[in-house]
Amino acid sequence: MSSRPIETSGPLHHDPPIFELGAPGRSGASLPALDVPARDPRLALPAHLVRAQDPGLPEVSEVEATRHYTRLSRFNYGIDIGLYPLGSCTMKYNPKINERAARLPGFAALHPATPESHLQGALALMYALERALCEITGLTRATLQPAAGAHGELAGLMMIRAWHRERGRRPHKVLIPDSAHGTNPASSTLNGFTTLALPTGPRGTLEVDAVRAACAAARDDVAGIMITNPSTLGLFEEKIDEIAAVVHAAGGLVYMDGANLNALLGRFRPGDHGVDCLHINLHKTFTTPHGGGGPGAGPVAVGKVLEPFLPVPLIERTQSGYRLDSDRPHTIGRVRAFLGNFGMHVRAYTYLRDMGAAGLARASELAVLNANYIRAQLTPVYGLPFDRPCMHEVVLSDRKLERETGVKTLDVAKRLMDYGFHPPTIYFPLPQVLGGAGALMIEPTETETPETLDQFCAAMSAIWREAHETPELVKGAPHETPLARLDETRAARKPKLRWTPGKE
């Protein structure tokens, strides 16, 4: 008899860590028989280099493992369950054909050390993806090597740094708006740069004068600017040309964080407006799945000035086919082993070919339409920090709600779960950008129907009413999830970061 207690809540609500399942000696492995002589490593290695004790892995059958992970999957919310309006993450539908494409044996089974002659299809696909990303962004070349957006930022800033060095300069300052993703300043630090924060202007966008003043204050020490367009407030930086001109005049280059590129497809090409370098999150705009936290992919497109510095290898097209070019004397080097997240390149390329130019342009239009539809319905209720039309996402403020009811953004987010929705991004942009208010950053994406948006707005309005009538209901949310609100303070104060045997 098992000593495990009988759970009245059952596997619909939780499943113990896999280490608490199974029995000693059990295994779900399917291994071939040994058909060569067995070898004892202790004859070849000193005793201290041979493993004395097996690692504490689970001991379960394939069936037990399958049930366990199927159960765990049910405790997750995903795009295929419903609206996932996580602002700045572009949680749009992940097409199923992408998954099928990436699993074609001719792609999935490819080893990175395969000779180029046997990789022609893969190289053709990556080359075509690079060309498409350049056409979309208005830039001239791109590296597909970075594995995520932040990795792309790192690579882009390395190129900017190398460009300055090539010109005998060593500037230290990077201008970054206060509404930027935290990855921007963190990537700057990894390049030895210091960050100069630019304030968000009264209309929610950057002011040219603020950029000019920052450049003047930094004197000859401006490496560049990192600008997110549209910004994380969902607003288009309409002074982009002037801002770029100011930064260029100060000797710097313009990096654009492409996290919000989904608003711009076929409508605005950053490379035509002074942007020298931009990363593209394939897991946002180009539908590769977010995977519960990756893998993503963060190709970086650049203009002519930065081409010599791109990471190696680049893919070149020749008369006899495609080849990898590593002979680039000014390259910053490699930022990752092999060729990047190829499985994501296949998915993104599949999406591009599914949509075509007209489909991509329509996607951006509908993404913007959807966000404004939410804005129009919820502005009268919640209020906006910057009351003007938005791009692909809308940022609501909790200022009025909290003043009237004491209910906070976090409570609204938790209560939304009871209505069957994933909450928006919360408390970003940071409160200091919104005059101390908590942000609810809503990005519906183009793949949502207006009916879904109506339901979402109805839920948000219902929560507003609840906050006024029964605030404790909202403050105690969620009520319908497998677990109630979790104690994050305890997790941080007494960290338990791995399972350990013993009493449970």
């Binding site: 490819l110 080097g333 070919r353 677990l483 997790a491």
Partner: protein, 460 residues
């Protein structure tokens, strides 16, 4: 709206009537008018993007299949490793990965509806810690090479010392990646040579060590397949006050080799792709990252962490924790810029490791060891072939080919349908004579015999 030959697309649900109704609610006459308020018309693009035409489901699959078929693979007679060491992944793993609750979720910021991802990562952290013999593991990095770079940066933070040393047994592309990261901080990665047996030269290491060295990086088994004595390297590093970083590009070896933590490594990283998903041209990968569990290491650790806690009713649950190290809180003072990691590959690894389990993991390691020794003996018995290094190997091994041109040997073997190994001259001219051969459980005895016969023929 944009013109296209059909007025609908399967991922875009809006009918003309939907759009009209929404515009009315918003209070603008048209989508064009809405955009005119957002992006000044003079800077809007005035032409359609010049992209290849859209394809329907059938045509798209046909096109992709054609591209896939232009890649040629040779099945079981592939002996490529060199940082990506493929193993058979049980069908159940990919079937479970296709659960869209797992792959269409994002970073579990909202724990009440992300317990699946969070518990899987907690289990993953436990497994990685167990494999490496260290107490602390993060929720994953991009791949082994970037994990190695992050380890070197973490050691800089902990030690306050700027110099970093790496054995020439570290994967050449890993060395390039670490160097690229260090260039950003005006530092270099300095090399430590190998001895004739293929292990890190401890005397040369001692000469280079000093009180300004923050870390020493050693790979095990190293790039040439040689099993390094991590304990000796760690002792040397510690004697000089530096941290020892172990890189394990083939973590299956840890089913048979002592874990780096037990040998004194302070940080251990690795590449988990081979125990998670098919090679996929080397990406996405899975950057394994583990470290000693002590307060200063916890503070300096890059990447996400999942911790156990309880809900309001006292029930066990999981959350992202210790996030004050991270970019979204700490911004320019974060320990790393990493945000999106490789959650789904970590999930695959966790499921596959669960199914292998204690016994399976050990048995698989011993299978690969036996195949590797058999193949090494067979190839090194061929006229003109000899071990490139005399030190002991796990599964992958390096041979010196007769005539000194490993690339030529590999190309001729491929003409006979055998991807015999990786010719190391592609990274360094000094290794032009070296072929790196990676047997695994996927190879039957007959495949290993065919490898030897083919190499004998083409080297003639």
């Amino acid at each position: 709206m944009s013109t296209q030959n059909r007025s609908y697309h399967r991922y875009l649900p809006h009918t003309d009537a939907d759009v009209a109704r929404m515009l009315e609610v918003i209070g603008v006459p048209s989508v064009q008018a809405l955009f005119a308020e957002l992006i000044p018309p003079p800077i809007q693009l005035k032409r359609p993007l010049d992209l290849p035409p859209a394809l329907d489901e059938a045509a798209l699959l046909e096109h992709l299949s054609e591209l896939a078929q232009q890649n040629q693979t040779v099945g079981r007679t592939t002996f490529l490793g060199a940082g990506v060491h493929p193993h058979t992944i049980q069908s159940a793993v990919d079937m479970l990965l296709m659960r869209s609750e797992l792959y269409t979720a994002y970073t579990p910021y909202q724990p009440e509806i992300s317990q699946g991802t969070l518990q899987i990562v907690f289990e993953y952290q436990t497994m990685v810690a167990e494999l490496f013999g260290l107490g602390l593991a993060n929720a994953s990095m991009y791949d082994g090479s970037t994990a190695a770079a992050e380890a070197v940066l973490m050691a800089r933070r902990l030690s306050g010392r700027k110099r970093a040393l790496a054995s020439l047994g570290l994967h050449p592309e890993y060395r390039q990646v670490v160097s690229t990261y260090l260039h950003g901080l005006d530092a270099e990665l300095e090399s430590v040579p190998l001895t004739a047996d293929g292990r890190t030269d401890l005397a040369a290491l001692a000469e280079r060590l000093g009180n300004d060295v923050g870390s020493v990086v050693v790979q095990v088994p190293n790039f040439f397949g040689v099993i390094e004595d991590v304990r000796a390297v760690a002792q040397a590093a510690h004697a000089a006050g530096a941290l020892a970083i172990a890189v394990v590009a083939e973590p299956l070896a840890l089913g048979l080799l002592a874990p780096p933590g037990a040998l004194g490594a302070d940080i251990a990283v690795g590449e988990g792709i081979g125990l998670a998903i098919p090679p996929s041209l080397g990406g996405p990968g899975l950057g394994l990252f583990a470290a000693r569990d002590q307060p200063d290491f916890r503070k300096a650790l890059p990447g996400r962490l999942v911790g156990e806690t309880v809900d309001k009713q006292g029930r066990r649950g999981y959350v992202l924790t210790l996030a004050t190290r991270e970019q979204h809180i700490r911004r320019e003072r974060a320990t790393s810029n990493i945000c999106t990691n490789t959650g789904l590959v970590a999930t695959a690894f966790t499921i596959h490791m669960s199914m292998l389990g204690r016994r399976g993991f050990r048995e698989l390691a011993h299978l690969c060891y036996a195949k590797g020794q058999y193949a090494r003996d067979a190839v090194c018995a061929l006229p003109g072939f000899e071990p490139r290094f005399s030190g002991p190997s796990f599964a992958e091994f390096a041979v010196r080919v007769p005539g000194g041109d490993a690339d030529r040997v590999a190309r001729r073997a491929l003409e006979r349908g055998v991807l015999a190994g990786v010719a190391c001259g592609r990274w360094e001219a000094a290794y032009k004579d070296t072929l790196l051969i990676n047997p695994s459980e996927a190879h039957r005895k007959a495949d290993l015999d065919r490898l030897a016969v083919t190499l004998a023929e083409v080297a003639r």
